[in-house]
Amino acid sequence: MISKSTLYKLLPWVVTCSLLSPIIAIFISAFNIDENGSFTHLLDTVLFTYISNSVLVIITVVAISILFALPSAWLVACCEFPGRKKLQWVLMLPLAMPPYIVAIVYTDLLDFAGPVQLFLRSFFGWQSVNDYYFPDIRTLFGASVILALSLFPYLYLLLRSAFLTQSAGLFQAARTLGLPPTKAFFRVSLPLSRSAMAVGISLIAMETLGDFATVNYFAVHTLTTAIYDTWLELGSLTTAAKISSVMLLVLVGLISLENYSRRKQRVYQRNNSGQVDLRFVLAGWRKWGTLIFIWTLLSLSLFIPISTLVYYAVYYFKASLNEELFDYTLNSLWLAFLVAFLALFVALIVNFYQRLTPGLAAKSSIRLSSLGYAVPGTVVAIGVLIPLTNLDHLLNDLLLSLDLSPVGLVFSGSLIILVLGYLVRFTAIAVGSVDSSLVQVAPSLDLASRTLGNGAVKTLWRVNMPLIRKGMLTAFILVFIEAMKELPAALLLRPFNFETLATYVYQFVSDEMIEYAALPALLIIVLGLIPFIIVNNLLEKKV
């Protein structure tokens, strides 16, 4: 019989290994022989362009995201201006916007035949393309802006809480030492939020690296293109696996390097209750500049795409409303719900494992369980297929050898594979969110509870869990939203006759029929926003 404590130690590793199995499968495939020389072919031709495009897209997306997130986070955390309380959470909402939908909306608006250029032409009396210059949105830069518009809230969220928990005294100290506010910000507040910045940037970088739909829509070819081409057109799993593995290794390397570089600095976070009345009250041009900046950002990331979709949805309401839409909505909802719940569960397991038995093993279980986030959906999909189909074959062979009737594709032919695929992709978000709130719970509380007669697990349940409720809710919602948006894994892994809102949207979008996709696209956004708003209100009331 397995003892209880062994079980507790085993559970995190069982979870980690199942999440890791697709990635391991990919790594293993990477060591196979390159059967049709496609890797050397890529190397000789386009690989370096793809790499430089990938690097460029990531750098641009990160740079633009910082441009969006850093000022808004700081203004909202440290200044006072009209509407700040509401705006501070409205700024999180662009997370619910699927970038591929934002991309389509903007290309539609900014295309030659779109309303913007139409207006410019009729206003200035231009006749053809040659009469004027209009920036092409289908470029690397355009794609980066669109990605940044829906990814910047990750950084915003992390920076905002970093600024809020920073000791206000440090900023004041800097000012009394002769630094004006802007300089004090760059020399003190910013370096102090470095870990939040690093985490936010790596989240955004991973999302960007994993994106295919958006960059592909903008005809920007990145490493993900290489993976798709070699795998699905040239049929070389090995080459695709090689590229994915190298991509992952570089990413993990960069993140570890960043961690190592700040090993010496322990940045204490102090809770500063006096922060609230220390906000700079903005007035004059500062106030107006702030309001213009934030409202423009929100218009671009939220209001313009949503109102365009609403316009189409109303106009094509009859054509797009049908019974199936209701079924697909339900599918999306309960799938997202299930995945969010499981991701939260996994996050709690690996994080508590680290809290109970700190050390390299636990730390690596956290890292490893998050790896799948950087892998493009389609790669995850095929990565998940490998272990699960093997499991199915094993099970069926076993049943046959016992003279029982085989059960078919129990794992890979059912929703199990879809749920696992989603989990591999999104557990990282839940793990990160739980981790960051758990480290703020003072270890002395654990000790207090233990000396008061609670066991380790009971302490987690009675002390830690209630204290990280907020982090748990955030984890749940973020995963829920991501799962609502997820497309490539859903397309490839779903069972027969199973549609989600995202796959339904994709059908229309892939045929340039955005109008019919508007209603389901809005549903994805709104259903992601609702839990956001509810939870936010709950939290506000508590504080």
């Binding site: 000791s167 005294g169 440090l170 004041q172 100290a173 800097a174 000012r175 009394t176 030492l177 002769g178 630094l179 004006p180 506010p181 300089k183 004090a184 020399r187 003190v188 370096p191 102090l192 470095r194 010496k264 600095q265 322990r266 940045v267 204490y268 102090r270 009345d277 220390l278 009250v281």
Partner: protein
């Protein structure tokens, strides 16, 4: 030249008056302590001087330069002040050297910077620590680095916000004397906020006692203790006994200790009732079987005993110094007589 001049300073926060028409002047090379209970406005005053407080009326000048007035509010970074915090506020992302060098502008060469930082670290005797990060230092060391960091900026005025209250008792007073010496050596004026009068006694030249947004009395420690201008000040500065007295003439008073004669004349009117302040050390206590006072409680405090005595239907707290090894010990229930020693005849209405 005054180091700091505050006139009619008021500040309200959420409709309550935190500072109420406050006036204060700091002389050159003088350390003034702002003493008071929490909520009296002392930290607000300090923050106002630092330029960190909004919603102010009144005037603040540092070295004759106006910092706050109507339509004037100089930014904190332009005030040339050094601010020391209770939690040290060392930048956790910078090591000791970079913390101390933080305010040094790029106008200085690398060598000059190095020299200045080393000089400052020498002042606080922490030259060895320049590579360490704040979290690797003890509380006392962190505060010394904070002082070095502020001094490196060559401020015209030092502001210290409860700088010693996070420190252990034995480190605290050592550091207080060390830093006082340092400030005197650097001819630095300083405003120092604390709620502990012992710190104030040890650190400051003058103590300003604050109550409800006003300075109720500002004087050196002795005067404040011996000649408080109100019962509030008297009580804040130390244990106090009060007895009712009736004025007989300009210098004599009727009390439960009999007729008392003062060396100084007062302008009280005959027959007026007053309350006379008697510090515990102003009353002598002796064993006396026929005495009309009874010991109710004894606290042995090493160098002295603090004794509570019931006399004339009133409780007195008395301090009895244990002069030599076999000094008298008092026990509960002992009969004693009390006699008044020389005192300042401080009386309140």
């Amino acid at each position: 030249m005054s180091a700091l001049d505050i006139q009619e300073l008021s500040c309200s926060y959420q409709k309550t008056l935190v500072l109420d028409g406050l006036n204060l002047t700091l002389n050159d090379n003088e350390i003034v302590c702002l003493l008071g209970e929490s909520g009296c406005g002392k930290t607000t005053l300090l923050r106002a001087v630092a330029g960190l407080q909004s919603e102010l009326t009144g005037k603040i000048s540092i070295r004759q330069k106006v910092m706050n007035d109507i339509d004037i509010n100089v930014a904190p970074e332009k005030r040339k002040i050094g601010l020391i915090f209770q939690d040290y506020a060392l930048f956790p992302h910078l090591n000791v050297f970079d913390n101390v060098a933080f305010s040094l502008t790029s106008k200085l060469s690398q060598q000059q910077k190095q020299q200045r930082v080393e000089e400052m670290l020498a002042l606080v005797q922490l030259n060895e620590m320049s590579e360490r990060y704040p979290h690797q230092l003890s509380g006392g060391q962190q505060q010394r680095i904070a002082i070095a960091r502020a001094l490196a900026y060559q401020p015209e005025l030092m502001l210290l916000d409860e700088p010693f209250s996070n420190l252990d008792q034995h480190v605290r007073f050592q550091l207080i004397h060390e830093i006082r010496l340092l400030l005197k050596q650097k001819k630095m004026s300083a405003l120092f906020v604390t709620h502990s009068k012992e710190e104030g006694f040890a650190f400051a030249d003058r103590i300003a006692l604050m109550q409800a947004g006003k300075i109720v009395q500002i004087d050196d420690a002795q005067t404040l203790y011996r000649k408080p201008n109100s019962m509030y000040v008297a009580n804040f500065m130390g244990q106090a006994n009060y007895i009712d007295v009736t004025v007989l003439d300009e210098s004599t008073y009727q009390s439960c200790f009999g007729v008392l004669t003062s060396k100084h004349q007062s302008n009280h009117k005959k027959g007026q009732k007053q309350r006379l302040l008697l510090r515990p050390e102003h009353i002598d206590i002796k064993h006396d079987q026929r005495g009309d006072a009874v010991v109710e409680q004894v606290d042995f405090q090493g160098a002295s005993q603090q004794i509570k005595v019931r006399f004339a239907a009133q409780e007195f707290v008395i301090k009895y110094s244990n002069h030599c090894y076999d000094s008298v010990l008092f026990k509960i229930g002992d009969k004693v007589t009390l006699t008044l020693l020389e005192h300042g005849f401080v009386m309140f209405d």
